[in-house]
Symmetry: C2
Subunit: 345 residues, 2 copies
């Protein structure tokens, strides 16, 4: 059996010497290396930006969607959308574990898992597409995939429905980082707190900031703010346009008696919200950017431009225990669980 | 006298409601508001990307460069290059201080200062361009500028030559953040350690990591590595291509006996170096991205893709005391001072 590299570099075909994610083509032969895990795939959860693009290109036609998806995997050996560059995740069952990994992993053959590394770097073979669920970007297939030694995953626990698990794991990084960051007494602003990751972040922030803290939810629509209010996710609710830095700053100032926030979590899904995040933080505060629409230069130059000494963090989708932390919310909070089941599962 | 906003919002003409940096046009009337400082400008230090663009557009002709620069300020009320979006900084003498600021600032009329907020948001009037020093992107003018209440600056101390001060202040953020971050015993990698900000970061890293720490300099050319070696700036020197994540990772692994770095400082000036930075850090390590060529999504998705729990920070050009910290290096290290005088002043 061939020895593999932890990051899967041994599977890269083109261009040589890069990692599997930036690679144009990787080897999706399903004979495993000594440190790989073979997965019998059940469902692909396609990244929302990627699925929207494919659906549009296919004019909504399901057979055409299938053709495009198969074409991507045939060309690249992985489901990485060539337009958006993004992937998604998958659910499947462990079929084989490489001997070099056997003693290092807590997995065993037959375990059902969700992979938490992107499909954009996961060797995949699609034998047949069984069902396309357009509303939730999920596709059932017959096929196999490979998980590298460095690849992360979550075991699917039996007490939660699979679709719920998938939709929570999709945004697991943000609430887990929030949980690690927020301390008792902190004032926390969640910009985009009314959204999917936002509601999970609010929940963790409130739990960690405690009764001496203050958690502020910012959204742009009455309807979504009402939903968060009913679930009692925050202490203060602000309706504001996240691209209007001055409006946001003034409203946060009012809500904090001019003190501003210790921690600002940005989970909006639109560009040009860097300045409202920076100006909502106090000096020496922390701004956590999870939004993939964040611009590095706008954040770096923006903070310098207003002479603001804030620590700005690039949201890392992975942190230890992120799957457990976020799934635990679904067990602890019946009201959030109901919202998630209604909206996303 | 009219009351001003700390961020200078009162000067924004177009579009209304944004901050001075993203604004297309700001008011450069030199009658000050109550919280502004009027500066008699001596020298503009144009951002390198901006100056290169202007010089090219002018085919290197000095009169044409002057015309373009005056045109920018006439149109925008500030020297923000419409192609690169960037500004620069200036040196001048305090001419007037608004009454609302008098008791809050340590400045007095007649002080010589460098502004540390970008020219891209600074109201400026150019009466005459006296001299264009193409080699170092500096332009002497007759003119005035406004510093907002939130605007940061450094007093020019008399013990260091002005050109040296300007060239150090240009990159002051990186060494100052390094100084705050590195603790005794840390292993620190400076990717691009052979460059302008890189050498200052190495100096601070070595000072803070101490004899129990290890500071690793990575550059791509024999000549620049030799220069850093002669100045004894690091403990280990690695020649590698920063865009080759695997090469960098393996060389850092060798230099650290597989332990990797506690802190990685990225100060290269080219794109696609996110993965080599991430893979050089140990789990729970910190990666500090100063390079303006950093891509937010490449960093965020890259770390997730390899399941690496690292904290990734967006380099903030400003941190308290950054001017003092970086200028102090020029006083402490005669060898670095000589290098800076030769190369950049
Ligand atoms: N790196 C990671 O691990 C990670 C993890 C999770 C999420 N993310 C990123 O985080 C972002 C959010 O993801 P999501 O799934 O939570 O999206 P989502 O459910 O669509 O939420 C988007 C949020 O943005 C708010 N918003 C949109 N326009 C706004 C405006 N003009 N002013 C104020 N708020 C506005 C929405 O509020 P209203 O509905 O009230 O307008 C909503 O709260 C995405 O960019 C995603 O890629 C990254
Ligand atoms: N946010 C802030 O406050 C702040 C502050 C300072 C700097 N910066 C940013 O930091 C970056 C560097 O600025 P600088 O003035 O220090 O630039 P610089 O003097 O030109 O240095 C660039 C460095 O990158 C290295 N480099 C270039 N290509 C490389 C490659 N393929 N492999 C390895 N190393 C490579 C160079 O090494 P060799 O010469 O050995 O090839 C050199 O050490 C810029 O993007 C700047 O905007 C930001």
């Amino acid at each position: 059996m061939k020895k593999g590299n932890p990051y899967g570099i041994h599977r890269v075909l083109e261009p040589k010497g890069v990692l599997p994610q930036p690679a144009l083509k990787i080897d999706n032969n399903m004979e495993i290396y000594d440190n790989e895990i073979l997965i019998d795939v059940q469902t692909l959860n396609i990244d929302s930006a990627s699925f929207t693009q494919i659906e549009k290109q296919a004019n909504g036609d399901v057979e055409e969607i299938k053709k495009i998806m198969k074409g991507i995997v045939a060309e690249r050996g992985k489901h990485q959308n060539p337009v958006t560059g993004s992937g998604g995740m998958l659910i499947g069952t462990v079929e084989e574990i490489g001997p070099a990994l056997k003693d290092k992993t807590d997995l065993k053959v037959g375990d059902k898992i969700a992979t938490l590394v992107s499909l954009s770097l996961t060797p995949l073979r699609i034998d047949e597409i069984l069902d396309v669920r357009k509303e939730i970007d999920q596709v059932d297939i017959k096929g196999k995939a490979i998980l590298f030694e460095s690849g992360i995953y979550a075991k699917i626990s039996k007490d939660l429905p699979e679709n719920l698990v998938l939709s929570v794991l999709d945004v697991a990084g943000a609430p887990a980082q929030t949980a690690k960051l927020v301390k008792p007494g902190d004032t926390v602003v969640v910009l985009g707190g009314t959204g999917k990751s936002g509601m999970l972040c609010l929940y963790e922030a409130k739990k960690r900031a405690g009764i001496t803290g203050k958690v502020i939810c910012i959204g742009s629509r009455d309807e979504t703010i009402e939903r968060a209010k009913k679930a009692n996710l925050a202490d203060v609710y602000i309706k504001a346009n996240a691209t209007d830095a001055i409006e946001v700053m003034e409203k946060v100032s009012k809500a904090t008696n001019g003190k501003m926030a210790d921690i600002v979590i940005n989970v909006v899904n639109i560009p040009n919200t860097e300045m409202s995040s920076i100006l909502s933080a106090k000096d020496d505060g922390v701004v956590y950017f999870f939004s993939m629409a964040t611009s590095f230069t706008k954040a770096a130059l923006g903070a310098e431009g207003v002479g603001k000494d804030v620590t700005m963090i690039i949201g890392n989708g992975y942190t230890k225990g992120h799957a457990e932390i976020s799934l635990q919310i679904m067990r602890e909070s019946p009201v959030l669980r109901r919202i998630f089941e209604e909206l996303y599962a």
